[in-house]
């Protein structure tokens, strides 16, 4: 059973989501603003926070930065009304472990919550596509070593390509003859690069939106 707090300014959406989540998830509380969310997360310490990207008094990224002290216990999963990279990369770079669109079904959200709670990253095809673009994978750039943070390794590129093509982690594993665990490791590595890299494709638009 995963404990969850829902942060979204639309009460209809909160109650709708709450009703849709299956019984692997238990909702501890709901918040509508950044202030409420920060206080609630600090007092309840849920395993996962379902976080809207846009809030009336700030953004989802603000909630994460202000709860930074809890980041090793509380994991954040961004919920966005759109799946445009601009909306999402801000929260990812602030520390979210993945994102899903609000159009996703209750079962999909529950699955994503479970994945994030167990330490995995949740990547959508659109986000994988953005990552391939942002890290210059299409132009043929490739990391020389695993420690390099501004480019993706060959294996990471393959994994991202398959996710962009709509493959689930399990299918990626079958396709590449590796275990699901290895796929998850690659995805987490990519997520870490996405959060820490200072490639200008990532920093330029973050600067533009005053996120740095």
């Amino acid at each position: 059973m995963t404990t969850v707090v829902i942060v979204d300014d639309h009460s209809i959406f909160r109650s709708g989501l709450r009703a849709d989540l299956d019984d692997t998830v238990s909702v501890l509380g709901e918040a509508a603003t950044v202030e409420e969310a920060v206080a609630l997360i600090a007092s309840l310490e849920p395993q996962v926070v379902l976080l809207d990207v846009h809030l009336p008094d700030g953004s989802g990224a603000d909630v994460i930065t202000r709860s930074a002290a809890l980041l090793d216990r509380v994991r954040f999963l961004a919920l966005s009304v759109s799946d445009s990279a601009e909306d999402v990369v801000g929260v990812i770079r602030a520390g979210a472990r993945g994102y899903i669109t609000k159009g996703s079904s209750g079962a999909e959200v529950s699955r994503a919550v479970g994945a994030v709670a167990s330490g995995d990253a949740v990547f959508s095809p659109r986000l994988a596509g953005f990552v391939l673009d942002a890290f210059g994978a299409v132009a043929g750039e490739q990391a020389a070593s695993d420690t390099e943070i501004d480019r993706l390794s060959a294996r990471e590129q393959e994994v991202m390509r398959l996710i962009a093509r709509g493959y689930a982690y399990k299918e990626v594993a079958t396709e590449l003859f590796i275990s699901i665990k290895t796929v998850e490791t690659h995805v987490s590595a990519v997520l870490r690069k996405l959060q820490l890299s200072s490639r200008h494709e990532l920093t330029a638009w973050a600067l533009e939106r005053k996120l740095l």
Partner: protein
Amino acid sequence: MTIVREPLLRPRTSVVGGVALALAAHLGMRVTVVRFWLIVTALAGGAGLLLYLWLWALVPLVPARVDEATAPRRSAPVAALLVGLGAVAAIVCFSTVRSEDETASGAILALMALSGLAVVWTLLLDRTDPGRPSRYGLWVRGVASVSFLLVGLVTLLSRPSALNAVLGVAALVCGIAVVVAPRVVTLWAELQASQTARVREVQRAEIAAHLHDSVLQTLALIQNRAGASSEVARIARAQERELRDWLFTGSAPVDTDLASELRELAASIELDYAVRIDVVAVGTSHSTSSALVAAAREAMLNAARHAGGEVSVYLESTESATDVFVRDRGPGLVLADVPDDRLGIRESIIGRMSRAGGSATVKPGASGSGTEVHLHLEVTS
């Protein structure tokens, strides 16, 4: 019997204001006749002139066709004529300013009226007229300014009467004003335009924020509650996409790269079938190959028809090649089992791609579920 009359509209190409042409067309008379009567009544007490100005102000222009320049063309060089008459008035003024004070005052006033009108005409009407040479307005205003300044100086230097001294100073002021006027008009127009643009931008941002917070959320909720491939969800999704395009792309020019073309195709297929097509595009697609687009469309249609549910489309454009993957999660198909008379895959996808110099492979999707079509096309430079 009723007479069907042409609507009273001024044409965009005319001599002065297009009023005579409009009247002639409306009344079914020859245009020379209309012009003749206008001139006669104008000379007899000015009624024709008043009628002309009144109709000019109130009769609308013919609505512009799309392929046509919107600014009206006027063939008569009215401003040049006016400024020429002004120059005549200036000469009258020079020859009378020492002897006949009253004639000189009249001449100065006439100069002001004629040249002033000429300047206004160039600034308001000729400026947008595509039929005028680029330096036309400059010449007219130059001549107006010089005649104003000369008249002012000559009048003031020739021991004028009190009234003429005042008029002389006024003429000097007019001469300087004419030089400054175009700049002021331009500045004013720019200020107006930037203000309008700003107001529009602010309004747009406000609407976008509001719709984002309300309508888009509601549409997302509808899709969420109705299930991904239900009728309601599809309509909500189409609405969401339309609204989003309108909100965030705004008036940006429509670029026809491969990615946007595939997205449009996906959107139109989603309307017809119970399917959700996710298009992910990577890299910058340079050229659109019609064969590739057509084959991708066929692949998406097949997926929508035979599989439905979720379909993933992935487009990768590199320097050397373009790849499109269309993946569905349907019952799957084996190419050898497809009857020969079914042209969908063999002709429209594989045949088309090989004729265009590319290749297409159809194989079962990962872990044996569904089908994946891979289109590959090298970039030819």
